[in-house]
């Protein structure tokens, strides 16, 4: 059927332009703020592009980044390491706290609010600055260690300790993930737990045989969201460690920032962004595959 003969039976009129008009704010917004920047980024990644120069170089930026750029490859390794450490830890802590906060106790609303506050502060730079001062040589953490009779730790000079500071900050902001888990836990039918109690199941068995399987979808959702967020980590290492020591906390996003705004190597920065995107897509696909496999197995 030719488009001009189509009849549009919608509640706002017969004209086929009405629908387009109604969705045009989204279309225009999407084109301007998503489609155009993404496309521009891809093409800029194929240029040797500075402030006063632009030359088409094809896939050279991509190839150089992946084969001949130690800093970028190290940044990718750091980012992956950070993601692998943070995401499971955050899921475990959020789920654990969500289970605890699902109890019927006095002041439960207050506890939930208090534990959610760090997430509201979120990626606030002031929090990152505060965090930095907590871990200085005479910061609060070392003072606390001294009270316990322990020697102070050089948090910023060790690659493991520096990474730990950033992981701890993000772990502290577990509220959003926890709230999602809590909402999902509250939707699990209580009959399942009652039936399990009748069968003589203890709390731990109920958790592993009822709660966890029922939360599979939410765990998957949180894993995806947290993985994407961890792969794009910038604020915390930028503000707290500056990427040090010896670039052990220098993430891919920091590399992109430096290439784009310090060195004004826009082509390389955009190519690096697309590599990060491809890497994220690959990891998320892997999470999808794992989910499908586990679902198939449970059937």
């Amino acid at each position: 059927m030719k488009p001009k003969n189509r009849k549009y039976n919608n509640p706002v009129g017969q004209s086929r332009f009405t629908g387009l008009l109604l969705i045009s704010p989204f279309i225009v917004g999407f084109m301007l703020f998503s489609f155009f920047p993404l496309s521009a980024s891809f093409f800029l990644g194929m240029n040797d592009c500075g402030i006063s120069r632009s030359e088409y170089v094809g896939m050279k930026n991509y190839i150089d980044l992946l084969t001949d750029n130690d800093d970028f490859l190290q940044a990718i390794i750091v980012t992956l390491k950070y993601t692998i450490i943070l995401v499971p830890l955050k899921l475990i802590v959020s789920l654990g706290v969500a289970v605890l906060l699902n109890r019927e106790v006095h002041w439960i609303g207050t506890y939930r609010t208090i534990l959610y506050i760090p997430s509201i502060l979120g990626s606030n730079l002031a929090v990152a600055v505060m965090w930095r001062y907590l871990f200085t040589s005479d910061g609060l953490v070392n003072q606390f260690l001294a009270i316990l009779g322990l020697s102070p730790v050089g948090w910023y000079s060790g690659s493991i300790s520096a990474m730990s500071i950033i992981v701890l900050l993000r772990l502290w902001e577990f509220g959003s993930t926890m709230i999602i888990f809590l909402a999902a836990i509250q939707k699990i039918p209580l009959e399942l737990y009652d039936a399990a109690s009748v069968d003589g199941c203890g709390r731990i068995r109920k958790f592993f045989n009822i709660t966890l399987p029922q939360l599979k979808g939410v765990i998957f959702f949180n894993a995806v969201i947290q993985t994407i967020s961890a792969l794009q980590e910038f604020n915390a290492p930028f503000m707290i460690t500056g990427g040090g020591p010896l670039k052990s906390t220098y993430t891919t996003a920091m590399y992109i920032y430096d290439a784009a705004f310090s060195e004004w190597n826009v082509g390389v920065a955009n190519a690096a962004s697309w590599i990060l995107f491809a890497m994220s897509a690959l990891i998320i696909s892997l999470i999808f595959v794992v989910r499908r496999k586990t679902e198939e197995r449970s059937k």
Binding site: P3, N47, I51, R53, R132, T241, D258, E263, W264
Partner: protein, 439 residues
């Protein structure tokens, strides 16, 4: 109405490519001077400390009394992140009309001489008679006058005089005196001064001075050629290790542990006197001075070898004024720059907040008024006896500083020997300079 159906992918790509072309390249539209001053608002940006900010705001008030028809919209802040901000503005054709710029921006923002307005077109407004040809040459790119040097500055030692007096130690005059003083400082758990591997890369700069004095070579030439060989770089890194081993400076680990990524002038060790000195540009020493509430900084001698050779020390244009290539008001911007550079009332307001003026006429005027004083001036006077080398703008590039800092960090953390770090640094710098010189 066909337009509402899916267009061909080629059409989309063509549209994207042409639009990217529009955004990726700077506008070539240059507003030519029209020979008169119109009523307008100019944006003026600078970075600096509080002393510079308040002086500049007062100077703007004075300007607006003289030229009420030309308003100035100030944009100012600290140095951290300033380069990134200006880079973004220049790329987006939204740069301020008048900018205080850093020396290396001529390489990064105007390698073809077109990144800033050609000031040779505006000499009817800007009086350049107080500047020598050499000073003017520092603001040229591809023989095009892009910027005018405000002040020259050397990187020298500034010591916490109270700590030195308390310990009964005089400021070192030779490298050997410096190294041997380490024992006495160590017994008091104090450091004679400190260097860092942050945006200033002071650690590498001092090593370069030492090797330049020892070998007579210049680290980098003005046109971006590497003057040091791998062996020279290794010697520079060996010298750095010597400083750490003799308790002249803290190790990178000690500095990081204290306060992570904080700048040296904000660190408790500097403020409480455990670090009794810094190696800094004279034009920026004000921010260190202002944080020392109960102590006083003094400029120290530029070190020589035992036979009195003081060569190898470095000077550079500490900052320059430029006009955006996209300005709609070149005449008015030029008139404003002339005011900043040549007006004696403005010069009195500024004092030495932008370093010691490079404009001879203003220098003489301030000297006659006894306005030239302070540690920045003392350091500048001492440097003039040392026959300094002008720093290459390529030495200041952020990527170059990353290479210096990586090498220093790796030898300080013992993750590489000085040979390995020197080989890596030489290779990285050679490749980088080749690349930017090709483009």
């Amino acid at each position: 109405m066909k337009i509402f159906y899916v267009p061909t992918s080629i059409k989309i790509i063509a549209v994207i490519m042409s639009t990217i072309g529009l955004f990726a390249c700077n506008s070539e539209k240059i507003t030519e001077p029209d020979g008169k001053l119109d009523s307008c608002t100019l944006r003026f940006s600078w970075w600096g400390g509080d002393d510079r900010h308040s002086a500049t705001l007062k100077a703007i008030e004075l300007w607006e009394k003289i030229h009420p028809e030309i308003k100035i919209e100030p944009e100012y802040g600290g140095w951290d992140g300033w380069t990134e901000k200006i880079n973004t503005q220049v790329a987006g054709n939204t740069a301020p009309d008048v900018m205080q710029i850093n020396y290396d921006w001529l390489v990064t923002l105007s390698s073809d001489g077109k990144g800033f307005y050609d000031l040779d077109k505006l000499t009817d407004y800007i009086d350049l008679s107080g500047y020598s040809d050499e000073i003017l040459s520092f603001g040229k790119s591809q023989n095009c006058l892009n910027a005018i040097t405000v002040s020259m500055s050397g990187r020298g030692f500034f010591y916490n005089s109270d700590v030195y007096k308390k310990l009964g130690i005089s400021y070192p005059k030779t490298w050997n005196e410096l190294i041997t003083s380490g024992n006495k400082f160590e017994s008091e758990d104090v450091y004679p001064f400190d260097l860092d591997t942050q945006s200033g890369a002071t650690a590498w700069y001092l090593c370069v001075v030492y090797i330049q004095q020892t070998t007579g070579k210049q680290f980098l030439t003005m046109d971006g050629k590497l003057g040091f060989n791998e062996e020279d770089i290794k010697s520079a890194l060996d010298f750095y290790v010597t400083l750490e081993q003799n308790h002249i400076i803290r190790t990178v680990k000690e500095r990081s542990d204290e306060d992570g990524n904080d700048a040296l002038y904000q660190s408790p060790s500097f403020i409480n006197g455990k670090v009794a000195g810094v190696f800094e540009w004279g034009s920026t020493i004000g921010k260190y001075e202002s944080l020392l509430e109960n102590a006083k900084l003094e400029a120290g001698p530029y070190l020589s070898n035992d036979s009195g050779n003081k060569n190898g020390w470095m000077t550079k244009p500490s900052l320059l004024y430029a006009i955006s290539a996209d300005t709609k008001y070149p005449d008015e911007a030029a008139e404003f720059i002339n005011f900043l550079l040549n007006d004696t009332d403005c010069a009195e307001i500024f004092g030495t907040t932008r370093g010691i003026p490079a404009n001879k006429k203003i220098y003489d005027f301030l000297e006659s008024k006894n306005e030239l004083s302070g540690i920045s001036y003392d350091s500048s006077e001492m440097l003039s006896d040392a026959n300094p080398i002008t720093v290459s703008p390529y030495m200041e590039l952020s990527k170059m500083k990353e290479y210096y800092n990586n090498a220093i960090d790796s030898v300080s953390y013992h993750t590489a020997t000085t040979e390995e770090a020197a080989a890596k640094m030489y290779d990285s710098i050679t490749r980088y300079l080749r690349k930017i010189n090709e483009t």
